[in-house]
Symmetry: C2
Subunit: 418 residues, 2 copies
DNA sequence: ATGCTAAGTTGTGCCGCAAAACATATTTAT
DNA sequence: ATAAATATGTTTTGCGGCACAACTTAGCAT
């Protein structure tokens, strides 16, 4: 049981933090695993029965974060254990996934249940910053109207296909949205605090992050990567991004920009990328590359899924296109595997559909040359949460502060009264 | 002050672990920062004076890990603060760096002081596994003879230019040594326990790791990367390896194989690598590549340093060679920067000398194309510990268990009596 | 109905840290 | 030289958190 190792910065632990840690542990457990018997919690945490009882009582009575119920199904001898249930309705987060052609918003309860979901299509030409912010705020208002009377809004998480500064959600570069240097975190924060007066969170509770990073977070939390501590999530849309979990924690990097796998140079003899360099991975495996290889024009309405269907139907050109894509996928994924040595590489976004068609080829090509030790245990899998990975990740992002300090944060959140 | 966030595995903290954590914190502080006033410790940890006093007393009296001294130089008003000093002589580690042409061994005291150092050249033809193990054991015995009467040996750390399994130090692949599938951790562990009966550590205290990973650890601990939590260390010798620190912790990956940057494919049109793939980074920037580009034959005695000297002396061929190398360095380093977003990229091994000659070119080439946000704050620097980075890292590796649980581990280590 | 089992509940004790009061050592002011 | 100011070490006391043990409760099996 290792605690985080600090450098030379202060990190003395006091008893207060011990309590906070254990409360956090308990709440996070039921948030992740759902309703759980007290006996199970006792066994898993290693804490004493009486301690678990006291912690659960605090979470239930002081903040109504959980409730304790008699177990429904009886099993085995002995006194049945009370079940600790996360109060899904009491604590909710708003989550948004800002896509190239639509905004998806959701209301997610403690425990990770999606309570409602809303899709706002973006008019094709109109994805400028102000419009997207405005549409997001509108969607947020609609979602917030559905809060129950006892709901508290813990915050807002936003996934955006962009290079995002970790500290404040400033968007440095979002080629697919056509944005550069936009203060998304600050702007949305201010606008949402204004638009949702019933919610008592402050501007800092509006958290913006890269969509691939949040996809990774979601898959690690509730998707295929549960229990796996070293994972790479690939988000393939127009661009390609990676979210990385290493040692159980998201890889952020110094500025929060880590995981820009799409601009890893794999083919210096290749095409010029939007970023200015030549032979970036995403010019070889991005949607446009798939379509172009199959003889389509990007923007003509074709999707990678259709190319896959064509290939399965026997279309030689589509099959050859997929083979070419596989080669470059193998190179890039191989590089990522050599660098991160993950247990899983998760294919999210449009890459999900691609995977089933090309998995065999990619695996063979990766195995053919190069170091094999990292590759021998790695699995390529499609994302389990489908296209909603970043959305769920955004919700987790919003819940994170509450999970880190349950009673402390809960105390700052009076019921919305809505 | 965040503690490590566990997944669903047990991680309840009890008071005992609180104490352990704070003891660990204190010992690690003086190990890293050297002799430190109690007042400073109080301020940095945020703990109370009385608590620091008690912790320091435990470390001093129970295990003699530190001693408290009256301060030498007086400064400022008020009662002078006692200075907590790591007991360099009482706790020592053995560290080894197994190179291609020599073994370097050292005796390192708590606090990181190198107390003695020994170089054993390898006969050119003879670097087979058994010979290297035997020479290492011999060197260890010689170093152990110099332990003082009050010394306790905390363990042995070994750096090896190989892909090493994290759990047990099994060497999967060490092309430069000509090894494959060798149980280095197990073999050395058994041999050293046998050879050093005075030392009471067990086989598990012999820890083997990749040299680049240990270089990164050392530079992070005592080198240029002190205080920087996101760092890439490049170890350039015959092969190229990377050690990565992210979020202040070493990147290990699932099997411990992370950081194989040398086999990142950057030039699919390039030469075939020893690993079987084509266009690996190390075929473009490894020592052999440098020499070949400059018109030398690998193994003819030329070193990269000589090529640099030639270039500085005006040799056109050498200058052109360095320019070519710079291009590929820029591609690879750019990829690493995009993926890890480090604050620093440290050039270790032979790359150290290369850096000063090519830094300008590499920085310009990196800035020319590609995403710039990750690159705008990154610095390319030579390793501060020179060729001894992996050696110091090996010592840190050996000290780690003691630093994680000072009193617990110290209790298992009676004095060597030697 | 009785006993068994597994779990929750309650009370006690230990341990860790903070806070306050006291003691000590050094600098600065008178 | 003496006293005040300052900063720190030391001791004592108190509070809070968890473990442990004893007790109670709830279901199951015979």
């Amino acid at each position: 049981m290792r605690l985080h190792r600090p450098h030379l910065s202060p990190a003395g632990i006091k008893q207060e933090e011990l309590r906070r840690h254990n409360l956090s542990l308990l709440l996070r457990y039921v948030h992740l695993a759902g309703p759980t018997q007290r006996a199970t919690l006792t066994a898993r945490t290693g804490l004493n029965r009486s301690t678990i009882g006291a912690l659960a009582a605090d979470l239930a009575n002081i903040a109504e974060l959980v409730r304790e119920e008699a177990p429904g199904v009886r099993s085995g001898a002995g006194r049945p254990s009370l079940v600790v249930v996360p109060e899904t309705e009491h604590y909710q987060a708003l989550a948004f996934d800002l896509g190239v052609d639509r905004i998806v918003g959701a209301r997610v309860g403690l425990g990770g249940t999606m309570l409602s979901r809303k899709v706002v299509p973006l008019p094709p030409g109109d994805r400028n910053f102000e419009s997207v912010v405005a549409l997001t705020v509108t969607a947020a208002r609609q979602l917030a109207d559905e809060f129950g009377p006892r709901a508290r809004c813990v915050g807002v998480g936003v996934a955006v296909p962009a290079v995002v500064r970790g500290t404040d959600g400033f968007v440095r570069f979002a080629p697919n949205l056509g944005w550069e240097q936009q203060p998304l975190g600050e702007t949305l924060g201010a606008a949402l605090v204004e638009a949702l007066p019933g919610c008592s969170f402050d501007r800092a509770a509006v958290l913006v992050a890269n969509d691939a990073d949040l996809g990774a977070l979601a898959e690690h939390t509730r998707g295929v990567a549960r229990g796996h501590d070293d994972v790479v999530y690939l988000s393939g849309n127009v661009g390609v991004g990676a979210g990385v979990i290493c040692g159980g924690r998201p890889l952020r990097g110094h500025g929060g920009y880590a995981g820009e796998a799409g601009h890893m140079i794999v083919n210096p003899a290749g095409q010029r990328c939007r970023c200015g360099a030549r032979g970036c991975w995403e010019t070889e495996v991005g949607i446009d590359a798939v379509l172009r290889a199959a003889g389509h024009e990007p923007g003509d309405g074709t999707t990678p899924r259709m190319v896959v269907a064509d290939a399965q139907a026997g279309d030689q050109r589509a099959r050859h296109a997929l083979y070419e894509i596989s080669r470059w996928l193998a190179v890039g994924v191989g590089n990522l595997v050599n660098l991160f040595n993950p247990e899983l590489v998760i294919f999210g976004g449009e890459l999900r559909e691609l995977l089933e068609a090309v998995e065999c080829d990619v695996v063979n090509m990766m195995g053919a040359g190069g170091l094999t030790m990292s590759r021998e245990h790695v699995e390529l899998v499609p994302s389990a949460l489908g296209g909603d990975s970043p959305l769920f990740g955004a919700a987790e992002l919003a819940f994170a502060p509450l999970l880190d300090d349950p009673l402390g944060v809960a105390a700052t959140l009076p019921a919305t009264g809505g």
